[in-house]
Point group: C2
Chain length 170, copies 2
Amino acid sequence: MVYNLHEAIAILSRTPKVLQALLEELPDSWINYQKHDDAFSPSEVIGHLIAGEQTDWIPRMQIMLSEAGSKEFPPFNREGFDQHLGLEERLAQFTALRAQNLKILKELVTVDDLHKTGIHPEFGEVTLQQHLATWVVHDLTHLFQIIETLALRYKESVGPWVQYLRILNV
Amino acid sequence: MVYNLHEAIAILSRTPKVLQALLEELPDSWINYQKHDDAFSPSEVIGHLIAGEQTDWIPRMQIMLSEAGSKEFPPFNREGFDQHLGLEERLAQFTALRAQNLKILKELVTVDDLHKTGIHPEFGEVTLQQHLATWVVHDLTHLFQIIETLALRYKESVGPWVQYLRILNV
């Protein structure tokens, strides 16, 4: 399998810095843009990432590592997060939570644990390796969501180039 | 029109920092991954961005600003770039070129120039505003390309979560 704990942590540890580099002090017209009324703005995507740090990645990992108790995951609320924080507060909170959670990951998980399993409410049995790989790709898919949202704000502005800019057409 | 020079520069000036935050010192297994044999690796995408700084954004802008001479753009080679540089050299070169080019943009262009035009080899008449908006979205589409490439490396590793991770399915 391609998955490797060290390489995965290399991506996970970079996400807060990438989000800061992209979004910190960016004008509100970008930060609060939504591609449609029900879509997350870039700022709201950070709220969703915070919720994952609090309720998904580490709690489910601990269920899979545990020798006792139920292996069933509680469901993850993909819509729920604190609506009242501003972007800078969200970035700071996400950065702190991610650092804490990577410390826990490094302390608790070795390569010998990656085959351990839990019971996903929809998928049934899943492995810790699949869960930890999903953490990486979840970061990347939401980074894509932010970038796509920013790009779509200029979909009209680019005129005829729209046809060659793939991010405007996915 | 949504396009605004100040807001556009806010994105353009962040791209080098975003690429550094994401790619600097990342393991080579990520940096050199290609989603298929003909696709750019993350490192090669930076080569393509360098070529744009050298031969596209500013030269075409200058053609549109000029009062004299042909308004026709020379074609842009979307495949051509220096194949021999390593990632860190590419990031440094892109960062330096982008800083120079934004200095030129700020010195030469005001809001009153945005209606000026050039002749694109395929599209015919295009405006400076469309060209400058395309510069922004071109950054974002190639950032998306890098992020998608990284994510696809773990397409098998995420197991059943593949269906919920949009970046693996665009």
